[in-house]
Symmetry: D2
Subunit: 281 residues, 4 copies
């Protein structure tokens, strides 16, 4: 007996820009949207029966139409409208909408911020995922590709040594990473653009301020601060590559290297992942 | 109460090449390896205590040393040796080793295949994941980035229409996709280089031979054939983007387009995912 | 008779970070360096004679050593020191050093900018190229990957129409582009970090402020302003892809689209390139 | 006086697939096309006058229409038809058409090659550039991203040593590279699909067969062989990164490394470029 297991389908990489033409200045929302549905799709697989298969092209069209009608508020409000729309199809048990927002800043000019010209900002990609199912809705917010570096107050020492260990203890290394942080809100109604910005500011502030004995501890401290300062957040997941910066040995050239000159690398890299959450205690 | 949840860490993007200098010809193994450990790492997070944290640099060294000692057989044998090595650490509850193999072919010359010169082959990236835990070992094998296209015998029609539906039914479209297929072996002892090649050959043969009413059905037919022909396989997961090729409207230029000229696109794309397995029936 | 023509060689993608540990705050320079040499290398090609071939590994080492000794001032000062060093080899006729700088900003915290923690900035990649030859030195500065968008005051109309023309005139479109702008200084002694920032500010200001009838005119206006305001600049080359944002047709869904909702695309794109310079008139 | 210098514009990344539905089997041509024009475009820049600016959207349409009408023969025949078409505009002095072809192979099945199902091939990307100007037409053909490796018969020794040199001489290293080779035909009428395949076969054969004392010599030997064996070719340009594979030091782990285990790297890399041509002697 061969049978169909878990399955889902949808449209990915829907690229859309909304220009909100305000009275004073324009506002940009630049999104990449993905939609995925689960439900009664066994016939589509085993019988070639498409009668229940909402076309992914239809999903794309809906994303554009809803950008017109439902993208006035937060990113999550838009995602939720889309997810609820698809959940209303009888054959759908779960609808997931994932959004990545590409950030733009008004161009600075001598006369102040330009009202209708923008430059891409660099501080990571905002993400939001709405999962609507028959039992309720869950919203995760977060940031990807937030590239940060600490040039002081990062160490790694006291780790175990075996026959394959050559790394030396260090009490002053560079910590460079590309943060992925995803947090789940305690209720889907709590999500907002402002709250997202506040959580990300907490993350960056703790990254800048703490002493790091390891990437593991850095994750713990950032995630714990988010939970302590933002009661709306129920859980934080973080994944931090450790993008090694190796001290160059300048001694063959008669030069000292007092933690000044580093080789920046991307591979191999460490990869540290953890979830921090409110306990039941 | 704030507490640590699931966590793991390791080294990713370890790039290594082994040259097996056989008597007649060389053989290349070109791998990207990732290692991740789970276990007793709460202290590393919440107390900054590294005494149990096997350095990811040590993992990298071990991957290289084991490439010398344990890469004579299948990819999975190497991965299993690595996973078992790390599982033997007392603080480790689970060790996962993921390997991607980059394929090379001997260069064809008038005198036959070159013994020591190679060209990168194009038929996807072989992947293998070994997960060793206290309860046993699980091996998944597969292929990523296997780019294939059907220029006939692909259709999509009979799907439901709502106010956002503009796509027309078609009985002759291009199906282009980049296959990710991951299959789990019923026992970790079954994995071999030969079996991997046989399963991939089945996948490609069915892709070429079947009539497709939808990507969903294509996945079902390929996965079912793998399970039918290869009893070693317990389950197959597939993810297929639908890389749309849109028929160009040449009528403004006074030309007919009899399914000949297409615009190749990558975004947006459909994304169809399913698992097919042996049932309990 | 078969002969060697133009040739050069060097090291590319040398990744280095210098941390300047100032008394108040750290400063980061994060560079990717490429070095290329021309000269008497015929023997290296046709005779397999390496006696004049400075190893590219030596170039890499030199780049790191010079980062310690010569990276206190402008990017161009460092590049020039490297280029002059290699030009001093008897077999070298020309040395080219190309540098890309990856920009970082101090992380904003409630206590002000962090002294030793940084986030990657998004406003393009600064580039500098020093070409040292026996006849003198030439310096080009610039920016790559500066992603900008105008949501108003961009048009394209009045273009010629032939049998293959379907595009309609528009007096209100989005102009999105990824600017590459390279400017040559009248003398290599004029280059500085401050001047680079000032030229880039001019470019952005004009991008924001002008009315654009075409990408061609936008290039002309930006480049002309750079030459008018910065007498140190002798010539500006610009290359602007036109990253089309297509207005979505929402009418099938009963909605109006008043220049609000766009499909962002990357391919195909227009590509407009021009040089603007001081004339001899 | 500020004036416009060299300029050109066009459409890039036009993605098109042509399916040739032959009686026995289908044939695929999968192309990325770029078109660029030079000519009388000063008014477009300095006066905002678009009356001579053939829209890049029109170029795209033309590329699709010509794929229907002129893509029966060689890649270069199609490129030439496009270039000649645009050169016929009165305001155009030069038209350049650059094509990259993505290679597909019929899927192998137990019944032979599939007639209508394909898998992406891995042996580099074919390129062709047609430059049509009032004085005549020039055709360059070539290959990009041809990734090859020699595991024997590659050395690098006898290079000069200075204070920054730490690399040791080696008589047995891996040479791994991603070949870009562009050759110019003596006459545009000589270009053909068959000749392209023959030149690439020569390149690969010499890469496999020669002893390499340096990448420079490898380029010379490959390019010279192309010129010797293919009289249609007037000149060959090659650019080879040296993608270093570093021998892992396994001695800390009590293991020997007899040129077996290597770290594959991509940055930094050497970059060797040379042109080889028929001399006038």
């Amino acid at each position: 007996m061969i049978e169909l297991g878990a399955n889902r389908y949808g449209k990915a990489q829907i690229r859309l820009v909304r220009v909100v033409r305000g009275p004073g200045a324009h506002r940009l929302r630049d999104l990449t949207v993905a939609i995925a549905l689960e439900g009664d799709f066994t016939g589509a697989h085993v019988d070639g029966d498409n009668t229940l298969v909402v076309a992914t092209d239809t999903m794309k069209n809906t994303a554009y139409a809803f950008a017109k009608e439902h993208l006035d508020g937060s990113l999550e409000t838009y995602g939720r409208a889309l997810a609820d729309h698809f959940l209303a199809f009888e054959q759908v048990d779960g609808a997931s909408v994932s959004i990545r927002e590409h950030d733009w800043s008004p161009i600075a000019t001598p006369n102040g911020p330009a009202p209708d010209a923008f430059v891409r900002a660099g501080s990571g990609t905002r993400v939001a995922t709405v999962v609507a199912a028959l039992g309720g809705t869950m919203i995760e917010a977060g940031v990807e590709d937030l590239v940060v570096m600490k040039t002081a107050r990062s160490a790694f020492s006291g780790f175990p040594r075996d026959q394959y260990t050559t790394l030396r203890d260090t009490d002053d290394r560079i910590m460079a990473t590309k943060v992925t942080a995803i947090w789940r809100y305690g209720s889907p109604d709590l999500a907002s653009d402002e709250l997202h910005a506040a959580v990300q500011a907490t993350l960056l502030e703790v990254f800048a301020d703490h002493d790091s004995p390891s990437v593991q501890t850095s994750i713990w401290l950032m995630a714990r601060a988010i939970l302590e300062r933002h009661e709306e957040v129920a859980e934080v997941r973080m994944a931090l590559p450790n993008l090694h910066h190796w001290l160059v040995d300048l001694s063959p050239f008669g030069l000292e290297n007092n933690n000044e000159i580093f080789i920046a690398t991307t591979e191999p890299h460490g990869l540290i992942e953890a979830t921090v959450r409110r306990g039941e205690g």
